[in-house]
Symmetry: D3
Subunit: 328 residues, 6 copies
């Protein structure tokens, strides 16, 4: 039995496995958020949620009906039914140069101490990692971009390690990047980043081809007594395009660039209509996970076909067992 | 209240909006033409219809079961139920060299005076704009190709402007062209074309990314008291291919290369199964519109997933309002 | 009336045409094998079956949940309900160097005399044609790879011709090959191959565009009194990827590199959900056919969307008629 | 003995063949214009000259030291030593929209009656064919662009044929076009163009691979008693890029889209240092030819390596003999 | 008259302009270092030199005869004749993980206070910016990589600005990057970097096409009374590959991400044989500059055709004049 | 001291090393065959020579002035001055189907017993390995193509090994193949080939990047007391195209798919003008070697820039020493 190190979340969204197989199972009423998540949305996906107050708050990627990509606040009592605002987030605080907003997408939210840090893919002449925070999901302060372009999928750890803030990211290029490994970077102050280390990359050959084109961090890493559980996405290139699937890895607690285990088998993949059909077919893209330390329950929020938002469930034990049985 | 300048069409196919949202709403019984539109068809899409006699006539793109692309005549009493001939159109009249028929696709039909002009993508060593006409949809006369290759989406205006015939087109390359802007050309005689002008092109950046790869004219422009309403297609390149959506623009009445307004938000996009799944997933491609000047009603015919034909409805006021509220 | 030259197979899986059109019709309960064909499978497709004992045996391509490609034995009483083993095939016999197993996919099974020969796409530094045999579907002997890389879709004839074993194949490159013609090779001993001849290739222009990108042999050729019936796949490149369809050709009985007839129209194409949606959308890929010489019935097994396995039916007369009426 | 139909030009630049082989021979003092053709030039190439007054005038492509492409007037007494102006040409007369000047390159000059018509690759949202004229090489009037984009290498015939102006061109795409055939277009008024016909294209296979990627017209066609002599460029794609060579064709006098003969062997190819080394290695690109009807002499001006300008010589008889002996 | 703010260097390598034109002129005896710069070299280029002791020291990119890329120390009395060591540099000090050495190339050397900082393109799973220093060119200490991959052309400023170290770089992809803008990053400690700002990028259109594909910083910026003079490389894509040329920009002294002037015309380009012919034709790539504050003399070291090393000269006044007369 | 196992060749072309460095040195009067090797040639390169009679015979690749690729016989007294026939080789004997001649290039000649076997890249619907023989260089018999397409650089061993003929080749694709490893195939009869084995491939990373894109066998392997010396070509992809260099490997005498040593450093690379400039810049491509068993001398014939033919010298000891000192 593994233990999640974190807070209890008795109201975590949850549905028992029933007769569903596999390390992760879908919510029966998926998708939980459809195309019309707010008034302007063409699609709502690749979004991040956290416990907030008595319920939940989230930062959502809504592509508008002009297909402009931006991030919006939303709230929910139960983590399943969401009310998303119709206006995108406004940040204050950073240098004017940084507050310029070319585009924003694929947010993550990470609570560190009393702040909810938001990271997202931020258009500053090219995609890089934007960083900001809020304490109330009403006022948002933007900090410096963490890195130079080109970068995507910046994911913070929920506490300092060795007195340094730690962020995963996936250096990219300026298009639909056909490569991508996960690196880690460290910072004293959330402003200057360094001590970059390679974490893990794509897998060549036939062993684990679902993650042969690129891999990128998904939800905020989950601290356990055995290390950090990292749910991530992996991509293969078929003759008809990319397929995005989900995997899991276990990173060393103190040196999280050291990989203790990593899934050879995916943990979720496009099977359902809403995952296979949409603006970008065949995408399951995890961006957030809620956890309950008491029960070990994990609820994963993931984008489906770049169109809608799905919810899936697992437990820390299910993931650990998967890592033991289906590891690279 | 805007006015369509044109004929009344009391028998225009029509279904009220009901509780559907957006500037354009789908017909409940879509697709109106399935794969088996005629005996040889693999798919029927990107086709053009006009009022004719007491009912309607149309020129249909049917890809055969050998996936050869050709155009066929069809007739309908109500604009919804169509009988399409099993043999493709035969033209007479033009130079032998021009009558050669490598392939024909994506027709438009435009009534000017008493002739129904047909334009289509015509294979003459490469794709260019074929031009012909009929008065009875039985006999068809082919004229010279309007332009040099490579060109697609040639769309005539329904009357001369400044004493010249006017045609929109989208210059292309010899493949699945990853670029494309709309130009206008003018002619005294439908044979020699010149005075080419740029009309509008793709939109860079995040503002209106659905039209960032290419744009091309759709149905024959609709004359209104405020200018020409042009329904067009716009394309984005995702990591898994193109998505074709619909937009609308308002062109100056006398200098139609001047754009008075242009939609930032799309007006229709692949949402339904028959639009998202098919020989080419994620395509909604408008090629014709019926209008009723009395009511301002507009019925749009559009190809779905390069496989079947859909019908959607709007009004001149809905489109004008969309242009006012969601303009670039 | 054409005749299949071969054995009777009174228990051939069969369903009457009913009111279905076209030369080939689908089984109503398709797909007959879903994603969960065995314990490890992500997908089961592009697989080969033969009569064996009182029922049927087969070699199945199961991509695992790590998306590793391998081949597995399965058995069935009725050819429809299959039990597939959970462990991939183990070969013995060949040189150690050849027994190395980088990946294996797209198997075919061909009974010649008393041996069931298996050919597949075999990873030996790159894709080439692996060859092995079994007599009992329990013990498997691997022979030398037939060819140098890069090759795929190696398909044996079910008897020697002119005292030589004969194999079709589709030379390829090292990726999602955007070209491909069918060649034939000959051998005295199943070890050394030569006398390579071109059989047929892609079709340019508008005549038969469904087979304009690549073509490759499907099931073991079916001997008839008029020649060898070859069911094959053809591929077109759309702006959103490849579409795989099925065709049929008639090859000369004694000089099978001579094509007597070849279908201009496809005989089956992706129409159904399970053919259009899946890990690789829009694929129908035939790999095996059962035949009953008494009735002329043919049951075709084909991969659907690189995800599941479908079954379709036809007769030798239906195919011959198709070739007469829709030939290139 | 063939005859050039045209004016005498006793002062045509000329150098006897000496012991040089081949249908065309180089001037000993090549290049005749170096990189520093005028004050701003990085390179001077792909330029056009005509007899003018007692000497010669020309329109030169000079790429500046900012590598902006523009066209400049130059004058010469002997056709070999040139004085090129330091300011690019200014046109008047056309619609403001057309006078916009994004870029201009690869000019040709064609005397028809008393006007010197200039055609060039004109940047109007994309490359197309600009048209203008002068009578004195001091004042320049610009007309409408002949065609829609994308087009290059527009070359006029030196007189009307069948009462129509006639222009060759090579439809292109928006990059370093990897394809290209020669078409012909016709006009009553130099403003509206139509009756487009295919002239000739690339050659597939091994027969004449130097012209397998693209072909385009070079100098103004030379009228002879046997038809129009067209010197053109042909391009092959090697693993290290394009190689541009020169060929010759004979077009029908009255229906110049009919090809009477066409060279299988090139007539000039990059051999010399200044042709093989420069801003674009391995280019010989002919844009102009002077002819003397009395002697049959032809002086060809050609761009070398997109860097400097070369001069080469031939005679109408040499070219006709080449066409007889080395024709496709 | 502009002033270089820096040290005197009376022994700066120098040759008067003579009758050479342009803002920069070549040394008559170029290349100063040939292919055989040391025992193992295939080529010596893109290298950095600084005054050291009574002469000069340098860090040289030598590609070996196995075409492995590494950096080597060299020394010279006069800055022209160099003795380069046969063994590559060995660093100590950094984390083992960082000392791993996949490849190293394109070094720059920057004296800040009493340390000579070296930056280079460092292979750490992918190209990024390696950082180290020496005080004696015998012992070398490596620091953390400045950035995540993918990055190249990291160039330090020779003093802190606003109490921060400042580095220019050109974020890239994992191949022969076809894009590239210059960004600036800042650091308190040479270990953690942030406050990334865009400096300048490529130029679209015809204005300055030599820098339309990518731009990257070259030598250490030269401080003047008017700001920082930055010599940089710009690249255009021709149909036969990239051409690398040199330009100059003037950056604001205190906010060096603000561009005060930038050259429209290049200042040096491949003209000479050793620049046009070599392992990569048509490359002039500046990596170092010596300056003499007393006279304003500047000696530029630049790689030629990725094969040999050239030397060129200019003065601060020549560059400032160029910026005044040929600015974007 | 190593020994060549073979015949004496006292009249081997030879020039002492002088002060030239490296394992292989060039002939001073290179190129020995220019562009005008015969009457029709545009270029003569990638050609094969053998001792014959009192002098030498060869099979030459001459690309004609139409850039058609074919092979021609030539003779020489001294191996340096060659007389090449003006008509390409005519074969007899094989199946009509095989005698079809789409194109032929890059020949090798291998004496086995009393026959001179010729292998070349043969156009049979696509590139594959043609095989023929002669005894007198007047009459030529063509055999079956050894392999299916796509293949190039087929190189025979000069005697049977383990009673089987043995051939190296480099499987390819249908273009300017950007990959390529060396395989070996075996045959009892020169007609049916099998027992294909991987020999060696490209080298990833920085260790030996000159051979990172593709490698292919060059001259007939040279038998020595230590194994087979194989001179081969290796290719790197720069931003401006491929560079072809030469390396050497030592293969096991009895199991020649086993590599005993392989050069990390190239043995010859494009340095000279005639190697760096030509129809394909930067190519040195070895196709033949003469050897003298008495002295250990080796004379290598190699194509230069796909334009002319060069000669270079080495000895078995030089190559063995290179392998000892610069091995992977």
């Amino acid at each position: 039995m593994s233990k999640i190190i974190g807070e209890s979340l008795p109201n975590i969204p949850w549905q028992e496995r029933g007769d569903k197989k596999g390390p992760v199972w879908r919510y029966d009423n998926n998708p939980i958020i459809g195309r019309d998540g707010n008034k302007v949305s063409n699609s709502v996906f690749n979004s991040a949620v956290v416990p907030f107050g008595k319920g939940f708050a989230g930062i959502f990627r809504c592509d508008s009906k002009s297909i402009s990509m931006d991030i919006f606040v939303g709230f929910s009592d139960d983590g399943i039914h969401w009310k998303i605002e119709d206006e995108p987030i406004t940040f204050t605080g950073a240098d004017e140069e940084i507050l310029r907003n070319e585009y924003r997408y694929d947010p993550r939210v990470c609570k560190i101490d009393d702040k909810y840090y938001i990271t997202w893919c931020n258009g500053y002449h090219a995609p890089t990692i934007g960083v900001g925070y809020t304490t109330d999901f009403k006022h948002f302060v933007q900090l410096e971009n963490a890195f130079l372009p080109f970068n995507r999928n910046g994911v913070l750890f929920p506490r300092k390690i060795n007195d340094l803030y730690v962020m995963l990211s996936r250096p990219s290029d300026n298009g639909h990047t056909p490569f991508g490994d996960i690196f880690i970077s460290q910072s004293k102050d959330m402003e200057f980043w360094g001590k970059h280390r390679y974490v893990f990359g794509t897998v060549h050959g036939n062993d684990s081809a679902w993650q042969s084109t690129k891999v990128g961090a998904g939800p905020i890493p989950i601290e356990t007594d055995e290390g950090w559980l990292l749910i991530y996405h992996g991509v293969i290139t078929t003759c008809n395009g990319f397929v995005y699937r989900m995997g899991v890895a276990l990173l060393d607690k103190d040196e999280p660039w050291k990989v203790k285990a990593r899934s050879k088998d995916y943990i979720l993949a496009p099977y359902e209509y809403y995952e296979c059909v949409g603006d970008v077919p065949n995408v399951t893209f995890p961006c957030a996970a809620l956890t309950d330390a008491d029960t070990g329950r994990i609820a994963i929020y993931y984008g489906c076909a770049d169109t809608v938002t799905g919810l899936a469930f697992t437990t820390v034990d299910d993931l650990m067992q998967h890592l033991r049985e289906h590891s690279l």
